[in-house]
């Protein structure tokens, strides 16, 4: 992926700088970490200072926050949502549950590591991360987008089969997300690199 970075034209750099300024976060609380989102969104910590605003529909959102554990039922809806979001899109994993299972490591109902099912841009340590940590992660994301390094979303197209296989393993069969990921790949001119 790194060799593509150098080809960024001057226009790409400007685009990256600007697009980092108005990220919209999908208003979907998937896990218990979502209780720290209202304080981040509202008066006390106010993430709108960075142009980040909660957006209700996946199609207009840029950031998908996986706020903690993902039960299998929620994972199905999250994948539907993720595939509806327009690229470039970024997934931020909150807390320990997204990394290696967190507190629910021996639970039968939750998936253990998020990067098996979708590419994750940033992880935040915490159980659950505080508003200050969430806002720092947004700043980090804005910087990475500005530097053109935030390309985890391409990974979903490149290694779609890998993710697909894991998803089907958890759901016990293919699910119809009514989004043709393969055709999306062409629109972004991404070659598939095996993973």
């Amino acid at each position: 992926m790194s060799e593509k970075l150098t080809q960024r034209t001057a226009w790409n750099r400007v685009l990256d700088k600007l697009s980092g300024r108005s990220l919209w976060m999908l208003h979907y609380c998937t896990g218990c970490g979502a209780i720290e989102l209202p304080p981040t969104m509202t008066g006390r910590f106010d993430m709108e200072r960075f142009g980040i605003h909660p957006m209700v529909t996946p199609r207009q959102a840029d950031i998908l926050l996986i706020t903690g554990y993902l039960s299998v039922k929620t994972l199905k809806r999250v994948i539907l949502t993720y595939e509806q979001m327009q690229s470039p899109k970024w997934v931020v994993g909150f807390g320990s549950c997204t990394i290696n299972g967190g507190m629910y490591w021996n639970s039968y109902a939750t998936v253990k590591s998020l990067d098996q099912y979708m590419p994750v841009e940033l992880y935040i340590a915490g159980c659950m991360p505080r508003p200050e940590a969430i806002i720092s992660s947004f700043n980090e994301l804005i910087d990475r987008i500005g530097r053109g390094e935030a390309n985890s979303w391409k990974d979903y197209y490149e290694n779609y089969d890998f993710y697909r296989k894991n998803q089907e393993h958890v759901f016990g069969g293919p699910i119809n997300t009514r989004t043709d990921v393969k055709s999306d790949k062409e629109t972004f001119r991404i070659q598939s690199a095996g993973k």
Binding site: K73, K76, N106, Y108, S113, F171
Partner: protein, 181 residues
């Protein structure tokens, strides 16, 4: 203010084969034979002024091969909680539903059905509510060990932190249980 003993006397008078005991302050335990329960639930609501069914709990006594259903009734006036306990066999557990008397029982019975596999006859809404994506056995039964399932079914992280050096990395979750056996 009636106290626990009055309640016990009242129950034992109505149900001679009930074994009642005062557990703590405002807590009475009544062990009943299963066939008495439906009548007991009706009488609690109509005659004895216990309008609130706080919860129905189910305990899986796997060694005795029985499920224990505990019905918790609360009276706002007498401020006492009566826990009626019955035992039903564990294999193909079936029991009568009390939903037409008690509306809260709808949720509790469906929950016990999902988690333990107890079939409540007369409850029309028993299909899956929480575990819709789960094909395995009722998870709360004691013979289902969630740790083994998690280790077999899910993928755990194999870290390669730089302080670890090349030679070894930590094992997956199944190696060391969180609590010493």
């Amino acid at each position: 203010m009636t106290n626990e003993q009055d309640i016990i006397n009242r129950i034992e008078a109505a149900y001679p084969d009930a074994v009642c005991k005062k557990k703590q302050e405002r807590r009475v335990e009544a062990c009943l034979p299963p066939d008495r329960l439906f009548d007991f639930a009706g009488r609690m609501q109509s005659h004895w002024n216990f309008p609130h069914l706080s919860a129905i709990s189910c305990v899986d006594w796997i060694n005795e091969g029985e499920f224990e259903l505990v019905y918790h009734f609360w009276s706002y006036e007498e401020k006492i909680l009566v826990s009626a306990k019955i035992r039903i066999p564990r294999e193909e557990a079936r029991f009568i539903s009390i939903t037409e008397l008690w509306q809260p029982a709808k949720f509790f019975e469906r929950d016990i059905h999902e988690m333990f596999g107890v079939v409540f006859e007369g409850n029309d809404d028993l299909e899956k509510y929480i575990l819709t994506e789960w094909e395995g056995p009722p998870p709360m039964r004691k013979d289902f060990v969630t740790r083994d399932f998690a280790n077999r079914f899910y993928h755990f992280k194999e870290y390669e932190a730089e302080w670890m050096g090349p030679q070894q990395n930590p094992q997956a979750a199944d190696v060391q249980g969180g609590s010493n056996e």
